[in-house]
């Protein structure tokens, strides 16, 4: 494969474009995705290549965007819909939970729903309670949807191509603060399968299972702790549904210690499910508690001093890792 550096944003655009060139049933719709190229710039230039029939500006109607996406998907199209902020998903809550997720089951398997819901997640900085949430786990409790959280440009491309070629609805969570991050991405068409975690950094002392942007922070923590002789193994699940239990358990079996890091709130976040999996299937390997590093259980504030306090960062991961030894030494 020919590798070159592109941004996470470009990688997502590239995946959409590859599939739209190959498959005329694929089209993109959402608020401001046309002339403006999306408020996050992801679809910039796509209107020029694919035209207004296939890169469609919608009215401000999250429920109708996702509902119409479902309708089009059921009759053979492969819509990609963009929801500007994950926080706005609840405007379409019924469509996602009761319609999109259940169409296959309730039709006895007759309805195919190849719908990709691209949605942003995470705090972009002083955007407060209704623009900053990480709503990945909101829908983990709803069978029927796959949940994808790419942390790198390469995974963004490969996972999105998998999503676009599947038969089931996918919620594809793009972290706003990753859009500008660059990384090596194969130029060719390639896919990253769902349900296959990435061992991002091998290590021996503590496993850090990191979701989305926390992968980057976990690597920062690993770098810092390596200087103290503490070796972190960083695992990125990449998809929360389906979840690659085996890779997580294998790592914990090796290290005996685990920290789960995500930007979603701690309570009921993706880490709660991961911790439960480890408690049921890996408890014999654990030499300490399962720790979580996550946003505090309060809404995200605007004021930067408050926001920094609520959000998790690399220093919080370092603190959690050190606590394994602090407890023993105390």
């Amino acid at each position: 494969m020919t590798m070159r550096e592109i941004t996470y944003r470009e990688a997502i655009r590239e995946a959409m474009s590859i599939e739209m060139r190959k498959d005329t049933s694929v089209f993109l719709m959402g608020e401001d995705v046309g002339v403006f190229g999306g408020v996050w710039g992801v679809s910039e230039g796509m209107l020029g290549e694919f035209g207004a029939e296939r890169v469609r500006d919608t009215p401000i109607t999250e429920a109708a965007i996702i509902g119409a996406g479902l309708g089009a998907a059921m009759v053979g199209m492969r819509p990609i819909v963009e929801i500007m902020f994950g926080d706005f998903l609840m405007c379409a809550g019924d469509q996602i939970v009761n319609q999109v997720a259940k169409a296959r089951f309730m039709s006895g398997g007759k309805a195919n729903v190849p719908l990709v819901i691209r949605v942003t997640t995470g705090a972009p900085g002083s955007a407060a309670a209704q623009h900053s949430q990480s709503p990945e786990s909101w829908f983990m409790n709803v069978p029927g949807i796959k949940i994808v959280c790419p942390a790198t440009p390469a995974d963004a491309k490969g996972l999105l191509l998998t999503a676009l070629r599947g038969q089931d609805p996918v919620m594809f969570y793009e972290h706003k603060m990753l859009y500008g991050e660059s990384g090596a991405v194969p130029e060719e068409d390639f896919t990253v399968p769902f349900g296959q975690a990435a061992v991002v950094r091998e290590g021996s002392d503590v496993t850090v299972i990191a979701v989305g942007i926390m992968v980057k922070k976990a690597l920062e923590a690993a770098e810092a702790l390596a200087k103290e002789g503490i070796s972190l193994e960083v695992i990125d699940p990449r998809t929360l549904v389906p979840l690659d239990r085996e890779t997580l358990i294998r790592s914990v079996a090796k290290t005996g210690r685990v920290v789960i890091a995500h930007e979603a709130h701690e309570r009921g976040g993706p880490g709660a499910e991961i911790a439960a999996v480890l408690a049921s299937d890996a408890v014999e390997y654990l030499d300490g508690p399962v720790l979580r590093v996550a946003a505090r259980n309060v809404p995200l504030p605007y004021s930067p001093v408050l926001e920094n306090y609520v959000l998790p960062d690399a220093a919080d991961i370092i603190k959690a890792v050190r606590s394994f030894w602090a407890q023993k030494g105390a």
Binding site: V35, D57, P59, A127, A129, N297, P299, P304, V305
Partner: protein, 329 residues
Amino acid sequence: MSDELSPEMKKEMYWMMLLARRLDERAWVLHRQGKIAFHISGIGQEAAQVGAAFALQRGVDWVTPYYRDLALMLSLGYTPRHFALSLYGKREEPSSGGRQMPSHWGYKPANAVSHSAPVATQASHAAGIGLAIKLNGESKVVLSTIGEGSTSQGEWYEAVNWAAIHNLPVIFMVENNMYAISVPVAKQMAVPSAADKACGLGLDGRKVDGTDVFAVYAMMQELVAKARNGGGPSLIEARMYRITPHSSDDDDRSYRSREEVDEAKKSDPLLVGKRQLEAEGLLSEADLESMEAKAKDMVDDAIQYAEAAPYPEVAEGEYPVYAEEVRHA
């Protein structure tokens, strides 16, 4: 307030538009200087907002504003200092103590309810407030403002329908500034005016020139009186032009021409208002100079005050999530 506007009142309305404009402009500068994280502007929409606000009984009637309503909020007693504190996320900010974004309002003395980032949610809150007013037998009204793009949301129709069915004292004012971020009004609705949506919902639908503060005031006076007297809800579209980009986060050159914006600036509500007052001999050059000087002083004061004001204490980030302390929350 009486139906007939006194010269003093007319000048006061112009002053409010001017103050809002200068404060709004300064917020853009602060953002460009990197001093604040975000600004969303109401430039071009001052006439509709001031005209509507002056038709209300301040602190008696209720308002569910939306994020462009700086001039509306100033007319209801929210101050430049309050706004500046919100831009900086300072502790003394009256809506939330620095917790919520600027321009999401919430100001208890004005009975103004906070706006939400997912749009159109305020319309059903307004219906609920209207229902409570009716149930309590009070003589109050609710003004619920919204952008034209947000009237595409299902929730907006649900709320207006609700208010119409139950004859609730709510005025739904659509500030049609022609753009929803980048999407022009023609891609937002098939009817020529948001007011036309009223006919399918069973309430009075009106159109008004949203650059003419006195025309908006006159129409709002009528609709407020009707609602207050049990005549039920109305839908009013005030049409104007969003002179600035959507917010400090976008560049509008990518979706509209400079010629279009320059043309629209000819109907800038401040110019329209100035011409009207001058034609009536109510605004001298000296008046204007003193208003500008006063606005500059107030804006300077607000920014200086906010810059010097303390941030919240970090621990304030923990509350108030619940009414009382909850263990393991």
